[in-house]
Symmetry: D2
């Protein structure tokens, strides 16, 4: 019961055609629908209708939407969000293309969080009867699924409190000013077994740092980097390893300047996972483990 | 709330010293305690006191133990097990070395399932402050953690019903006699995000097919195979890919003849994961995807 | 100066269309020509016109052809072959499609060896100006090139003597009956830096054991195995590691029953490479390092 | 006949103990001797006495030494070097620790090139009788062998001419000012089957850019990067892919500031390899394929 996963991100793009070419052609997502001027896409290993929504006009995150397990969850969270002091509204079936009944709230950080229980189902690329491990006809990086989203907030501590206190997330890793401090400068938050579904670092309210797609292994990360070079995608950082999550990564940009990530590896978490603490002086190693330093872009380029 | 994971397996071994040499020296687990004639071990990425218990005398599975999230879970499951018609007993703190209060039941298949909420904590090999991604001084295959257990039952359908109806597991994959049938000949069951925590195939009651340790990737599976050759460990099948779970695998045997597995990869699951169905005629491909046939050992060598 | 590499293998196939479908569609070679009833193919990273020639009618190896560096080499080898006691004949430009002047001989084992200096050039799939590391539009296993050929001979020692004494090959690894013996039961022979260009094991004269295509890494070997399962290619053994060469491998069969291999890894050799010796009792480990045993097919299925 | 390989590099280091700690402890070379104030090291898969010589005092390359196949080669190259207009001197057996008779010359670029035919042999870490694919007790990155050296020269064209005209090297890749030009700004030179044994880019005479050690695959490159982070080794660039050679790489620095590389992958070459040409405007992609840009350090930090 509760939140199952980051279901979809809705992002603004300055040029919809260029964005579709990027997400469909280079990342290899499938366009599953066009409606209300938006384009809906999913990875080959996702069964729901979409995990990415592209909306023309500007850049940045319109909303992050989490799928919950039951209608009861929606009712419970509606009350808990209100009890936590935030305005919460219903998103009725039909308001969001292919998405069922849900609720929506704006966090103190200005980010919009939507919860929903139901989405039209399309099925995975390999089918569910005697399936092969991967489908024929893959395109580009052939990312199987959305993995997580990282945003900035003026008060990351408060942001993480919403997810732990209201949505029952757990913190896998956190950044504190120095050893012994409990002041959260950054937090990586998970619901069940992944290193993170959502994360937050300090920065302006309402901004998107990146959203990430999963890849199976380090060789696929290399291949993704090759495809970025072949297709002229601007690379931010990587391939490299994160200290935080242990994952392997490349950060890169979509044609509108929104940061994407391909991400592989990482440990498994559970509710009793012993929270990892990074002191701010070691954050370079935490973010880019091999290089041990942040570039300027990492903290300044946001959408 | 509910079951978090397969916490530990307790297995019988004919020669305790040889078994310790195998699990500690070749698999790379750490011996964390010896008590009541038993040896307790954990992987370097596990924080609880143990995930494997070796008990001298014979072969096979003494019990599989699942860790739950809260004391309330224990009370709830105690009632639900009884309501499902099974005898359930308390395992009091102190009865099991390093394990807190729990409950125990014997399934119709003769397998003993224990649930517990608390275990003494030792911490992971990399620590929780500014950690490296892996610890120095790794031994052998350096398996980070226990992954799952597979058993046989005369009535696999009933076995899987216990886990779905009582313990709130979900079925990721199942084997049916032919397309359209709902009779479960085999089931792979998960609680949260992994392909399986426990699985069942047809066979004698009470028997163990194998228990598996996770490895990060296909190169580590190769390296594990190299170590099996170097140290004379009998290999059953692999390296290869499973159709079921998509994981990469080697099956091999401990010195007593209990089957082990190293397992990497596999997809992510959620409660709304669309259950995959294998028809019995394709089971060879389901188990060993590349070879597409079972060897005799797979179905006959059990402990 | 001297032999540069195994240039091409010419093999008989019972069904030419099925063979083309296999080598072009599943292995991913490119059909570069059809002439004299034969089909010519090359890998994407080969610049010469072909590395595989398919000839309808039967199974097995018609000839193995090595490319030499200079016309002088042809003249020298012509004399050295004759001096070694074998008949040698000229293969004139135009006799072999797309191949220049050459010489041919039949070894005591009945295998035909051709040497040539020139072949029509088509260029590699990535081009030679500011190239990408791999071409777009890859098919199937996308093997970049032919790697080596393994044959059987009643007198493997004599076979290897031809290659070392006449063609200036070196032995990377050899099998002897027992420690201390110099009787060669099997030999892996190289000219410059690879583990082997040609190899021989005991068996009937004139037979082909397999010819192999290179893959970049162990993940590509897994992917090749997946494609074998998807397209119904019969797998002989693997994925696994060879003790001999250290390479990673899958043996499989073309539709006519000729054995193919995909091969990755392996060490680098030089003329001063210290020859490795396997005693016959360890040959199982030498061939299939992880399993440490040969299956019957390995020594009995030949074409 | 001719040059077989880059046999060893002799480099100056400011702190010999720190250097030994780096090359032995972190890269995993074996110290095979100490003499004349120098330290000699080899990789586990090298059979000759050493491939790296550390000499206290300063930084940079003392000499690069190539092993030839025969004494006749030494005599021939002695004449050819002189005929090309360079002074050539004998290095008598015993002058260089563990090295046999040789010749030495100083190139117009100021680099010292030594050729030798013989070196004391120690054997590889896995032995030559029924060997395992890798030895037990590996340390750090466990690099198996030296791979290549890259230097700078004011006249790279002349540098490459020495290697092709006198030592019979071939050019795998070259950089030219623009398409159609034959002026070599940079050259990657090989003798037999590797992408390069030695390479040159524009820069001051006599300087070392880096020398490189081979790793088996992209996962080992990641692991090497992890070890750099664990042991505090300064990383220059990587992990990433080279466009030139297609290899995978990390550049990093030894404690004296000499640049090292770990390198895996890359294509196979032959004397008829079709030379690849990079135009200067694409050199960023040629060097760091994924990022497509050089950092300042790459061209300015030399020793």
């Amino acid at each position: 019961m509760g939140v199952m996963r980051l279901g979809f991100v809705e992002v603004r793009v300055t040029d919809l055609d260029a964005a579709v070419s990027h997400y469909e052609g280079s990342l290899g997502l499938e366009v599953t629908g066009r409606a209300e001027g938006k384009v809906f896409l999913k990875g080959w290993d996702e069964w729901d209708h979409h995990s990415v929504v592209l909306q023309p006009g500007g850049v940045g995150l319109v909303k992050m939407a989490f799928k919950v397990e039951s209608d009861q969850d929606l009712e419970d969270f509606e009350k808990r969000i209100a009890a936590w002091g935030l305005k919460v509204s219903r998103v009725h079936r039909g308001e969001d293309f292919a998405v069922g009944e849900g609720i929506s709230t704006e966090l103190p950080s200005g980010h919009v969080v939507q919860l929903y229980r139901e989405m039209e189902t399309l099925g995975v690329g390999t089918g569910t009867e005697n399936p092969d491990p991967w489908p024929d006809g893959q395109r580009g990086m052939a990312v199987p699924r959305l993995d997580h989203v990282l945003v900035t907030a003026e008060d990351p501590h408060l942001f993480s409190r919403f997810f732990t206190e209201v949505l029952d997330f757990h913190i896998s890793e956190r950044v504190v000013p120095q050893a012994g401090s409990d002041q959260i400068l950054g937090a990586w938050l998970f619901r069940t077994n992944t290193p993170h579904d959502v994360a937050v670092i300090p920065g302006p309210n309402g901004k998107l740092h990146h959203f990430a797609f999963y890849l199976d292994n380090w060789y696929e990360v290399l291949r993704a980097g090759d495809i970025m070079a072949k297709t002229g995608i601007p690379v931010d950082v990587g391939p490299t390893r994160h200290g935080i999550t242990r994952g392997q990564t490349i950060y890169f940009f979509d044609p509108s300047g929104n940061r994407n990530e391909v991400f592989s590896g990482g440990y498994i978490t559970y509710p009793d996972f012993p929270c990892i603490t990074w002191t701010a002086d070691q954050l370079g190693k935490g973010i880019f483990y091999i290089q041990r330093e942040l570039n300027d872009r990492f903290t300044t380029v946001l959408t």
